[in-house]
Structure formats: C-alpha cells, structure tokens
C-alpha cells in the first residue's frame, strides 16, 4: 500500500470543493514531490469539469488546463502527484469508468464521497502497473500531517 501525504489545508480544500460543486462532481490536480513509497502533496489546484452534459456522475479536465497546471507546478518545483474528484451520493471507491479513464500511472487518484452535500469518506488509489494492459488501482494510506485518515470502510 502506498502512502499519500497531505497537508491539512489540501485535505480540507479538496473535500470542501466536493461540497461546493454538489450535486455535481468536482475535480482537480494534486501537486507535490515523489518520495519513497508515495507522494508528498503540497498543493491542490481546482479544475473545471468539462462534462457539463453529465456532471452529476462524470468529470473530465481539459488537457489545456493541465498544460497550464503543469507549467505552474514546474515554476514551484513540483510535479503532478495525482488528481482528485468527488462522487456525489456515491461511495469513495473507484468505478469501472474511473479505471477505464485512468492513464496517469504512478499517480494517486483521490475520491471523496459527498453525501447529501457533506464530504464523508475520502480514499486514495495509486494507479500501479507499467502499461495500460497491467494497470491496476491499489489503495493508498492517506496521512494528513502524520495522522492516518484513510482507508476507511465505505
């Protein structure tokens, strides 16, 4: 199991974002540095969800927005550690859609269940493997300033 280190500010920010966009899915990028066994996330960047046709259960970040997020990350000496999104009234567990659309091998995908407008469980899943053919999600342990906050049972 990998480890995702978050600051309390990032933890609260990504969960609050899910509450703000409820009943739609929120999404964004996590910026940080790679470390043994996982990532140390220093910042979260909220992104737009282009799936306005089905925002209650789908998200997509425009590639140009990622180009700009990466540019800013490089300026800060950081890299893209992963992404976050929310599941309105749905468990904080990756779905077949999440898996099919996951291509950032080595990065963590953080999902927050937002139940009736309130952030509930947050889980993180590392996209492990080396190719599209052997990729798989492995649950991370999320540490917020040293405290284990995930995994929790959904």
């Amino acid at each position: 199991m990998g480890v995702l280190h978050l600051t309390r500010s990032v933890w609260e920010q990504i969960r609050a974002h899910g509450e703000e966009t409820y009943p739609h899915e929120c999404c964004g990028a996590l910026l940080g540095v790679s470390m043994a066994g996982g990532w140390k996330v220093e910042a979260a960047v909220a992104a737009g969800n282009t799936r306005t046709d089905s925002a209650h259960n789908r998200y997509h970040i425009a590639p140009l927005e990622l180009v700009k997020i990466e540019r800013e990350a490089r300026r800060q000496g950081l890299g893209i550690a992963g992404f976050y999104h929310s599941h309105p009234d749905h468990p904080a567990q990756w779905s077949p859609t999440d898996f099919a659309e996951a291509h950032w091998l080595g990065c963590s995908y953080v999902i927050t269940a937002v139940a009736q407008g309130k952030a509930a469980v947050t889980n993180s899943f590392l996209l492990a493997g080396t190719t599209e053919e052997d990729k798989r999600f492995e649950q991370d342990t999320i540490l917020v300033e040293g405290d284990v906050v995930s995994p929790e049972r959904c």
Partner: protein
C-alpha cells in the same frame, strides 16, 4: 524545442521531466524522442503506429490534432511540446 514529459512517462525517459529535441516538425520530434527513449514508444503509440487515443499533444497552447498540419506542423527552437494523458472518470 522542449518536450515536457508527464509523470507517468518519466521512468521511460531516463527519469527526466523535460527533453530537448532538435527537430523540424512535431512528428519528427516524437520520432527522435522515441528513438532515444525507445521504451516510450509503446506508451505513446499503438502497435499500428497511431498516437494512443488518450494521449494529448499540445504545441505551446495548441492541441496538435486541431492544427491544420497536425503532427506535420513545423516547430521552432523556442516551442514547447506537452504530452498530456487524458484525465477523466466518474461514479
């Protein structure tokens, strides 16, 4: 031209986040990139040699697939090429 390598592909580019490539077009740059880092090829291209559907290429701030010349677009030394795998999902 500077090619920005995304996190998932850095292990196949010698761990680098950027690679400097001297090439006349986007296609030539990709050919040179995968020539010097052959492990990158299968992550960028299908067995038939087509760019994988989830791989987005941005020449500066322009999506290469919507440029008139697409991968045949000429590039300058000051240009940047960003490789951006798609990010999407949902419950």
């Amino acid at each position: 031209m500077t090619v920005f390598i995304p996190t998932p592909l850095r292990p196949y580019a010698g761990g680098k986040d950027t690679v400097e490539i001297d090439a006349p077009t986007v296609a030539a740059a990709l050919e040179l990139l995968t020539g010097t880092h052959p492990d990158l090829r299968k992550h960028l291209f299908t067995a038939e040699g087509r760019l994988r559907a989830f791989v987005n290429l941005y020449l500066n701030d322009e999506d290469v697939r919507y440029l008139p010349e697409k991968e045949a677009t000429s590039v300058k030394a000051t240009d940047t090429l960003s490789i951006i795998p798609s990010i999407a999902g949902g419950n």
